[in-house]
Point group: C2
């Protein structure tokens, strides 16, 4: 029986795989980019994930390779697959998480609703799209964007001159993604997990709250969500996980429009911030399920343990020292709140932890989580 | 702010400290006796815990020292304290967990109800005790017993000739503990945790079910327990933790007699099998609370998350291979049950893991936990 999982990337997602690996008796091995990473306890190799030889060598010692992030070059992934090591999710699925234009094409092909979009390579093409959309649009780099990076609202085609110039310097990345600005009621996210045999588990659809393009809070389940909407969200995630052959966790970020439609915004094929609440709020966390899925073990139940869970991210502030310095006051004030410290040096804007509260009363649960997190903000 | 905890002993209790250490950002360092121990991921030193120099060297790198087991010699503990490293619980408290006769003396001094007992050094003294107790008694070695070892029922004073002979060969351990046989209705256990400042948290009192002196199952809370009994159990644990100056988790094993009295059977001053259910069943697990306590951080809430939790131990059987070999059937049949694999080679009778189920209906919860555990028994 195989029970050794290699993770490329040593960030907090790899770190949060450690507890379920300990519980399940999984030999977790992490390939980190730098010493003293968040996943340090499980790191067995520090190196460059763009170097195929290093990655192949790491992979030889594990039963399956999976990921903390989406930055491993496709050429390295292909080499891994060619070497016979199971790579989960596989490169054919990861392509749609790596490249937003490929993702939009795949979603459009599958008939999944997305914002109107176009791949644009020139200022003129962007101008044309803007002209057809009231002069405002969302522009995204096809690759490498996250947490608000690689995304901007444009009203003048020349707003993006720098990105078009940069395109010319990067062979292989020939276009930007431009989308209609969606007047959404709120943002939702649907988390799913799929094992190679095809079994899928679905968590309750959640509401995600963003500031400046960065997720700051997640409420599970999304308050007031109708059965129609939650069913539609589950259907979208199930369809995408199956049709794209995703193995492991799939996070689908959604816009809920004022007229009640769901549009797919982004996909991630790894544990995701929108699912951190599952550690304390679900029978099976996204981290446990990801491990079970990539090992092709039976999945656990993914229901909520409490009527409400609220997760609030903690960001490094301008004067934040180690988070533990604030434990005496924060933990004393909030004995019901669960603290998650990523072991990272706080820098302004950097996600360094999160807190989760659960319970029967949403107002109280949200208050507890927000108030506990506030102890760690400046 | 201090956040580095050293643990002497590399067994499953140290292993189960890893997940909360990861969540809280604690630098956990384990001193193991052998390579490839259950707590392997956090092991920073493999050596002999009876060697003061080794232990002192290990302790220099941490903020506080605590324990996975109760076998560290008092002389080594004293050396640690003399070196200035906080040792929690301290040797003055641990003495009562190490030595059952010292424990009985302390409990009697505190006026806590215990079975009638006597320290006996000779066959004649044992014969005298038997004569006063209907010819039957429970005999225990003062030190080193656990999981049914060092405990036997005697009806003839010569039943213990070997232990008396062994006493003569061990200086410093001059007596055996003999106790009246209690006709108990059932066994309960009360778990508490205390930080140096004095704050105490109490979990619900549980029922423990033993086979051949070994705990096989724990039901939380103890079914049908009255408010009077649960209050009395909480009072006993609070009193003992305070009066004995315990820091960290204290487990108090209790007899509930047919006439409704509680008698203290054993004490342990570390996370304990009777509290494994808290990982999945309580807002704060005994492992998280132990770390918070020894670091003198505020304690978390220790209530149950569900009306019922049932924990069933998994023992190595005569033909048991790695537990993971049985996951495909066990996990598929019980998606709601949480699996805990200690990463130990199964040997007959060895505790190698446990499962916990939680929920609203005790019959269903107990069925789920027992049926899941049965997949791992021969």
């Amino acid at each position: 029986m195989k029970a050794s999982v290699g993770v490329i990337g040593g960030g907090q997602l790899a770190r949060m795989l450690i507890p379920p690996a300990v519980a399940l008796g999984i030999d977790l091995r992490v390939f980190a980019e730098v010493p003293h990473s968040a996943a340090g306890l499980a790191v067995t190799h520090v190196g460059n994930y763009c170097d195929p030889a290093e990655v192949l060598d790491f992979a030889q010692a594990v039963d399956v390779v999976t990921f903390d992030h989406e930055h491993v070059p496709p050429s390295v992934l292909s080499r891994l697959v060619d070497s016979g090591v199971p790579v989960r999710p596989g490169p054919h699925a990861l392509r749609f998480a790596h490249d937003k234009i490929a993702m939009r094409e795949a979603l459009s092909d599958l008939g999944v609703a997305v914002p109107e979009w176009r791949a644009v390579s020139t200022v003129d093409e962007l101008a044309d799209f803007l002209a057809g959309h009231n002069g405002r649009a969302m522009l995204k780099t096809a690759r490498g964007g996250y947490d608000g990076r690689g995304v901007r609202v444009v009203t003048d085609p020349h707003d993006a001159a720098d990105w078009f110039a940069s395109l010319e310097n990067h062979s292989g990345e020939g276009a930007l993604l431009v989308e209609e600005l969606i007047l959404f009621r709120r943002e939702l996210a649907q988390l799913a997990v799929r094992r190679p045999s095809g079994d899928i588990a679905i968590w309750p659809v959640v509401e995600t709250i963003q500031h400046a393009g960065v997720c700051v809070e997640v409420i599970a389940p999304a308050p007031g969500v109708t059965g129609v909407v939650s069913g539609a969200a589950a259907d979208i995630a199930t369809e995408l996980a199956t049709r794209l052959d995703v193995v492991g966790v799939l996070a689908v970020e959604l816009f809920e429009t004022d007229d009640g439609r769901l549009l797919v915004n982004e996909l991630a094929m790894r544990p995701h911030n929108c699912g951190h609440w599952t550690i304390d709020g679900s029978t099976s966390s996204q981290f446990e399920q990801h491990l079970r899925a990539v090992l092709d073990w039976p999945l656990g139940a993914s229901g909520s343990r409490d009527p409400w869970s609220v997760m609030v991210n903690i960001f490094g502030g301008s004067a934040t020292g180690p988070l533990v310095d604030r434990y005496p006051r924060a933990l004393a004030a909030h004995p019901l709140v669960k603290m998650h410290n990523y072991g990272k040096s706080p820098r302004p804007g950097r996600k360094v932890g999160h807190v989760t509260a659960v319970g029967d009363d949403l107002d109280e649960v949200a208050y507890q989580a927000r108030a506990a997190a506030a102890f760690f903000q400046d």
